[in-house]
């Protein structure tokens, strides 16, 4: 343990113009150790990584020092010398597996490239042979060297990116939100792979993430970053069990919301879907013909007044199609959907549509940027006969209900923060006085602290207005916090459904069990001891 630090950030600060984006950061990276840098969006996490790599955006000025063992201060190095360090001594992997690989270059060549650039292979053939070995090592033995990125799944691409990074056997690996874009099962596989590589190669790893749960059973030390400053840095166990700084405490509390207390809901059924099947017809593209796709298969569910039904499943499982079907935007091939006694279909009247509304994930794409908030919120009333005064007063009521002020009606969406935008989206959903709200990943894009407040708002609205929720998410801790019952979807079918507490503690289906096992959880793991 008394080894020298591989990389030391000494009072590192970065300014862009007059703005100081990183302030006095000091971190030590030791061999065999994983150090996590945790912070919300805009805290300066990625900037730290770029400063280490010497890839800061133009106009950014770094002060302090980045000491690389055996080399010296990287900030003082010229570009040519940095090129010899980058990739060779310090490698990096990025968030988006979709865009981080060159789309027109074969996977093998992309892995071999780092070897050739650093002169670690005599020739192309040797580099390719080494690339093959590294790809085998990261679990891509089935993937040919001549594959292109678009032919790989998200998880495979991230593995390929990892292969390209570790091929020159770097001392230090920086992973910047490397698993954020993946779904939970893939995420846990990639995390396992990273952990194994660090252990086998004795690399130092800097793991940058917004998700405390991810680092809980990965990192040896955690540094918490807020607004460009490290507010707390300590061994993982200490941070998780006895956080000192108030910011760390809120972060922890928000990241592990308490499961919802068990409620018995015996009010009337407001939504009934039975045997809903949605098949996308075969499509022709020139000479090709894609086969018909079954997006939903015999899906049945019920929802009572005041109840919250959680809908979970991996990406592409049919959650969003189901949501659209419930909103009457999908033509269904068989089955029936009925809301408070009226059938749901694409050609139902606007007056019937008012009983169900939706809140989306993306707080930026949710509003027409050219409309003022009052017009945005009132849009669902456009096709319903409502007097002008009544519209105005309803907008005001809705704004107050979601904790905004009536004056906000005149403003435009870009004048609000992400959390406020999500409140506006909720206000728009409430304006028609619906019975049911579909919350489609409605809090997934929000930072944890903001998310906690929006979840509180949703809960109190549910109490006050006796709303029923369909809560769609990939995040199991949030669904435990919100849902009374949970339905698990896989490949267009509901594979398991039951009371939330029961389903989460004692899942019957294999798929649900896998999902739960893969989900990162914020418990202090005992097996951490094994490694030290």
């Amino acid at each position: 343990m008394s080894q020298d630090a591989r990389l030391t950030l000494v009072h590192l600060s970065v300014s862009i113009g007059a703005k100081r984006v990183l302030d006095d950061i000091s971190i030590k990276l030791l061999p065999h150790r994983i150090t996590a840098l945790v912070g919300e969006s805009g805290s300066g996490k990625s900037m730290t990584a770029l400063a280490v790599m010497g890839l800061l955006p133009q106009g950014a000025v770094a002060t302090g020092a980045v000491q690389l063992h055996g080399t010296g201060d990287l900030l003082a190095l010229r570009e040519a010398a940095l090129c010899a360090i980058r990739g060779r001594k310090i490698a990096m992997i990025f968030q988006e597996p979709m865009t981080a690989l060159n789309p027109v270059m074969q996977i093998g060549a992309q892995v071999a490239e780092a070897l050739l650039v650093h002169g670690l292979a005599e020739n192309r053939r040797e580099a390719m042979a080494q690339a093959r070995a590294v790809l085998d090592r990261v679990g891509l033995s089935q993937i040919g060297l001549d594959r292109y990125p678009h032919e790989l799944s998200g998880g495979q691409r991230q593995r390929a990116a990892i292969a390209a990074a570790i091929a020159p056997a770097p001392d230090i690996l920086i992973a910047d939100e490397a698993t954020t874009a993946l779904d939970v099962t893939t995420q846990s596989e990639i995390l396992d792979l990273l952990r194994q590589l660090v252990r086998e190669d004795g690399m130092s790893m800097l793991l940058i993430t917004h998700d405390l749960a991810v680092v809980a059973d990965m990192a040896d030390e955690i540094a918490v970053l807020a607004a460009g400053k490290i507010v707390e840095a300590a061994p993982t166990t200490n941070i998780l069990q006895a956080p000192q700084h108030p910011y760390t405490q809120t972060l922890l509390a928000a990241a592990s919301p308490a499961p919802r207390a068990k409620r018995v809901i015996e009010r009337e059924v407001v939504l009934q879907a039975s045997d809903v099947t949605r098949i996308y017809p075969a499509r022709r593209r020139g000479l090709r013909r894609s086969p018909p796709m079954v997006a939903l298969k015999n899906v049945s569910l019920t929802l009572r007044r005041g109840e919250c039904l959680g809908l979970v499943g991996g990406s592409g499982c049919g959650k969003s199609t189901l949501a659209r079907a419930l909103l009457g935007l999908e033509e269904i091939q068989s089955g029936a959907i009925d809301i408070t006694g009226r059938a749901v279909s694409p050609n139902m009247s606007p007056a019937d549509r008012r009983r169900i509304s939706i809140v989306f994930q993306d707080p930026y794409g949710s509003f027409n940027p050219r409309w003022p908030v009052k017009r945005i919120i009132a849009e669902p009333l456009d096709l319903i006969a409502v007097s002008e005064e009544s519209r105005a007063s309803r907008v005001e009521t809705a704004l107050v209900q979601v904790g905004l002020s009536p004056e906000d009606a005149q403003k435009f969406p870009h004048q609000f923060s992400g959390g406020q935008r999500q409140r506006i989206a909720i206000a728009r959903a409430l304006i028609t006085k619906p019975d049911i709200l579909v919350l489609d990943e409605a809090v997934s894009a929000l930072d944890v602290s903001v998310r906690a407040r929006v979840l509180d708002l949703l809960k109190s609205l549910q109490e006050d207005l006796q709303l029923s929720y369909i809560f769609i998410t990939h995040d199991l801790s949030v669904v435990a916090h919100m849902a009374d019952r949970i339905a698990v979807m896989q490949a267009g079918q509901i594979v398991e459904t039951g009371p939330a507490a029961e389903l989460l503690t004692n899942p019957k289906q294999q798929y649900t069990q896998n999902l739960l096992k893969a989900a990162p959880r914020l418990t202090v793991p005992m097996r951490r001891k094994e490694r030290t």
Binding site: C83, T99, A100, N102, P103, E113, V117, H150, L287
Partner: protein, 312 residues
């Protein structure tokens, strides 16, 4: 890859078929009928009747369309009414000027644009970049036939380095190329400026991509990332412009022939218009449209060569 190729080839044939119908119909709807139109107001009834018979106007429209298309497929474009020789012969002579001119100009502009565009992107904001941007603005704004006149003014009238126009023929390859050089420069320079600008902005956009950052993190230098990663990706939008440019170059070549008194397709078609020789007009426009559609097809194939995502 084969399906992609077949799809594109099918699309090309379909476009050709529809285009030929459009051209045929446009010529059909001339005031009066084609025969009396071609002969003008003073024609005798007998002459009109003769021409009607020669053009086959007594047959149904469909039969004539099929005969026209069938003939073209075999290289038979009919007999020019004014020249009394097969149109295919006329076209062959003229094409020997126009096609080399368009290709010459295309090669010249591409050869100039690629190094200049890369240089501008690499030296973003510095003087080579600003120079390219300014030249591109001028290149877009300058009418190429006027630019050609200015070149004639400078090189033929003032400096007297070259003759003002005419075509030496292909008997001597060197002389042929020499008489096409000034016209090709007139066509190519403005296009090169535009192409360089497109390449520059495509490169700059590509350089912002995540995979460029990945490449830099692997330890590639700026120059290596530019040549190895950015250029090929930037080639995709550039191909689009190159395809579009061909149709501009073709039209430009036809117009610029007037400036240099070149006996190309342009001369043929404008004479055809004045002499109301619909047979020539019909065939030459079809040929031009065929050229544009063919280039679109070739660009589609180039896309697939550049972008593996399209090869399915």
């Amino acid at each position: 890859m084969l399906t992609y190729f077949l799809n594109r080839a099918l699309a090309m044939i379909l476009s050709l078929a529809v285009a030929s119908v459009v051209i045929f119909c446009l010529i059909e709807v001339v005031p009066g009928d084609p025969a009396s139109f071609m002969l003008g107001l003073n024609a005798t009834d007998a002459a009109v009747a003769n021409l009607r018979a020669e053009l086959g106007l007594n047959q149904s429209g469909l039969a004539r369309y099929l005969a026209w298309v069938g003939g073209m497929v075999q290289g038979d474009f009919g007999i020019s009414y004014t020249y009394r020789v097969p149109v295919s012969e006329l076209i062959q002579d003229r094409l020997a000027v126009s096609l080399p001119l368009a290709i010459y100009a295309l090669l010249l502009s591409t050869a100039l644009a690629i190094p200049i565009g890369v240089l501008a992107a690499a030296k973003r904001g510095a003087w080579p970049d600003l120079g390219v941007m300014a030249a591109a603005q001028l290149g877009i704004a300058i009418p190429n036939f006027w630019f050609a006149m200015l070149l004639v003014l400078l090189f033929a009238v003032k400096l007297q380095w070259v003759s003002a126009g005419g075509f030496a023929g292909w008997d001597s390859f060197g002389a042929g190329v020499a008489s096409l050089t000034l016209p090709a420069i007139a066509l190519a320079l403005p296009q090169a400026a535009i192409l360089a600008r497109v390449l520059r902005s495509a490169l700059l956009e590509t350089l912002e991509q995540d995979y460029i950052r990945t490449a830099r993190a692997k330890g590639l230098t700026r120059r290596q990332t530019l040549w190895r990663h950015a250029l090929r990706n930037a080639g995709i939008p550039v191909m689009t412009i190159l395809g579009l440019q061909f149709s501009f170059l073709l039209a430009g070549a036809i117009i610029i022939e007037n400036v240099f008194f070149l006996p190309g397709l342009g001369r043929l078609i404008f004479q055809g218009i004045t002499q109301r020789d619909l047979i020539v007009v019909e065939s030459v426009t079809m040929l031009l449209v065929f050229a544009v559609i063919l280039v679109t097809f070739l660009v589609d194939l180039a896309y697939a060569a550049l972008d593996p995502r399209l090869r399915r």
